[in-house]
Symmetry: C2
Subunit: 409 residues, 2 copies
């Protein structure tokens, strides 16, 4: 036999959107409203520089050596303590430190997905999660979260559920408290593993945070938590994204399996990043940065809403999100070619996120994901003006009526 | 349907040895000769502390932000330049930066292994590679590297080959130049993908480095390299292990697929670690550290050989390795229960690596992997004395003759 083995078949289904976004960061004068990037001016870089230097100088064996696969014990405990303070019954045995939220998804995929297993999601949903699961070849089914009476039935048909209750990516949608309670009741009834992916939970702009699924699921129990919720968190959107530190909070038995999978995936995470994360938690850097981030992003949310109104309202409908990083703009003309629009947008100097990558079942109509956290008001206005030019250039229709309700899922 | 989905079946075959080793680092007075750890006293920590602080302070958007999925372009080019200096015809398009050598294995597994595909190895071989490949469910076959005339036939039956030509883990064996040439000829004839895993390539103690498979395969060609060798490198054993920076050098088309897989695995690597790695390369930190590391590890290799001779020679045979980090000690008594010996060793205060995890086909007899880089001469002596006590305690036999040649594979 001669000839190279072919690339694995799952690669045929993959999209390279995120790396196109990350890679396009160098294009001059491009307005990027496609990614989910924080504003680097918020980074507490001077203090992190001091902490990094001190950690390397005073603890070189830890900062520059191999770390335990599951994460530094002090950091696991610090994360557990933060969740306990919110009312979750968890301890360090519930916590695995990962190298990013994406790695958390990869590891859960490795441990809980076999080919053909069914994942229940509220579509459209995060493309990066589907990318991470793809090598494990799952199938997907949609869950209508508004039908509380059918949730147990829907979850019972799935092997795993995946949800982003706080400002879903891409839709910006917040799952309300009655639905959270109904979801937790349904997963307790069916004992279906349920991922609560929560990168945006700190980004509430209009009111206090709702209790998370992990808190609701663990209420009235003792640590360690042994329920079916698999919570995922990270500091990428609350501190800085580059440390590549995330975590999974789950049943200790599952944490053990995820740790075995992590050992086989990257042996251990960067210890220096974990020490920086620990210091940031202990010094209250996140709490210090939080009001600044909220004020800045709230202002930019308004700026993008106004720019959208000024420039693209003939073509799109949307709701203003109450948190997170994204608007979900639904095309009035349901025949709009979103990929063509994305290409035309790049030609006119604006990068927007095509909705179709988040909607593999095609349940939603044509839509765009638009980010408001990275750019200031002026750039957001310029971006929407350019998007309008691109819409005109491709002869996009404005539709005759509002998109049907199904498109707003 | 109720009840939690079961853990994926590949987990049943996994071993938790590496995490047991990493985790046992905290046990007081334990002599750890099981792991493959460098000596932290060699780390250039003061200079790395300065570089880290400067990078975060002066380039916060880069150091603390998302990095390109494939790695920082300057680092990809710097790695390519190092390999060009050795005679490999490669450029930046041949290079993917990974978060550790283990991640390189995980990504190649995702891209090139489908269930049932065959991997050819020279057993015993690195357990961590088999761990990384396990979720993709490959099968294994042994290649006898001494039979040059049969190499093309053996590789032709495989979808992928995995080799550690420089001081194999666990055996410490160096693949000689004629065998390297024969291997490259065979992979060129069959066009079989061949991984050259090279974490120990800088650790030659007794002479100059032999040309690597990548260099031999690319000779007489122009960059970018498009041949079947997939080279993997890292600075874990040459600088510090904690940066979690490794790389793959391969055909640009394969690099593109690996980059897609990386995007779905952790989105991107830590940028700060990449900046530290780049600075270390540019400042010649590796070249500066190299003679110190070689002198220290050469001395410790001798110390372990002497301690083995003093304490465990009634039970074991070995060759002194000419590089790398390990001795491969073969039991004279082929009925020795290695797992029992490992447990007894821990009770007597020494942690040794059981050979069986490196030898899933059971081709080798009972053996131990013993590391000489982490501990000084006194600790190595204490470790071997304790191992002798453990051997006595379990009533290990000394055998009547030397182990047959097959055990030395």
């Amino acid at each position: 036999m001669t000839g190279r083995a072919e690339f694995a078949s799952w690669l045929e289904g993959t999209n390279d959107l995120t790396s196109r976004f990350v890679g396009s960061a160098g294009i001059a004068d491009l307005v990027n409203v496609a990614g989910g990037l924080p504003d680097a001016s918020l980074f507490p870089s001077d203090r992190l520089a001091e902490i990094a230097a001190e950690a390397i100088r005073t603890r070189p064996g830890v900062a520059l050596g191999y770390a335990p696969t599951g994460g530094l014990p002090e950091l696991r405990e610090a994360i557990a303590a933060r969740y306990r303070a919110r009312g979750a019954a968890v301890d360090a045995s519930n916590v695995l430190i990962t190298a990013s939220g994406t790695q958390a998804l990869d590891l859960v995929g490795k441990v809980l997905i076999e080919p053909g297993r069914r994942i229940a999601c509220d579509f459209p949903t995060y493309a990066g999660a589907m990318d991470a699961f793809r090598p494990r070849e799952p199938r997907y089914q949609h869950v209508d979260l508004s039908r509380h009476d059918r949730l147990a039935d829907a979850l019972g048909k799935a092997d795993l559920a995946y949800m982003i209750p706080n400002f879903s990516n891409p839709t910006g949608k917040l799952v309300d408290l009655p639905t959270r309670r109904a979801l937790v009741e349904a997963v307790h009834a069916t004992d279906t593993w349920l991922i609560e992916d929560d990168p945006y939970g700190a980004l509430y702009y209009d009111g206090p945070a709702l209790p998370g699924l992990l808190e609701l699921s663990s209420r009235g129990t003792e640590a360690p938590y042994r329920g079916p919720v698999i919570h995922m968190g990270s500091l990428s959107k609350q501190l800085v994204p580059g440390l590549r530190v995330g975590w999974v909070i789950a049943d200790p038995e599952l944490i053990g399996k995820l740790s075995s999978a992590k050992q086989a995936t990257d042996l251990c995470s960067n210890a220096l990043s974990q020490l920086l994360t620990l210091a940031a938690l202990e010094e209250g850097m996140i709490e210090e940065m939080h009001p600044k981030a909220i004020a800045l992003y709230r202002e930019r949310r308004t700026a993008l809403a106004e720019a959208m109104e000024r420039h693209i309202s003939p073509w799109f409908d949307w709701e203003v999100p109450v948190g997170g990083m994204f608007f979900w703009a639904r095309a009035k003309d349901r025949s709009l070619d979103v990929d063509r629009l994305v290409d035309a947008g790049m030609e006119h100097g604006v990068l927007v996120g095509p909705g179709n990558v988040f909607d593999p079942l095609g349940l939603s109509g044509p839509a765009l994901r638009l980010n408001f956290t990275l750019n200031d008001a002026e750039k957001l206005d310029r971006g929407m003006a350019r998007l309008a030019e691109a819409l005109v250039a491709i002869g996009a229709g404005t539709g005759q009526q509002r998109a049907p309700a199904a498109a707003a899922v």
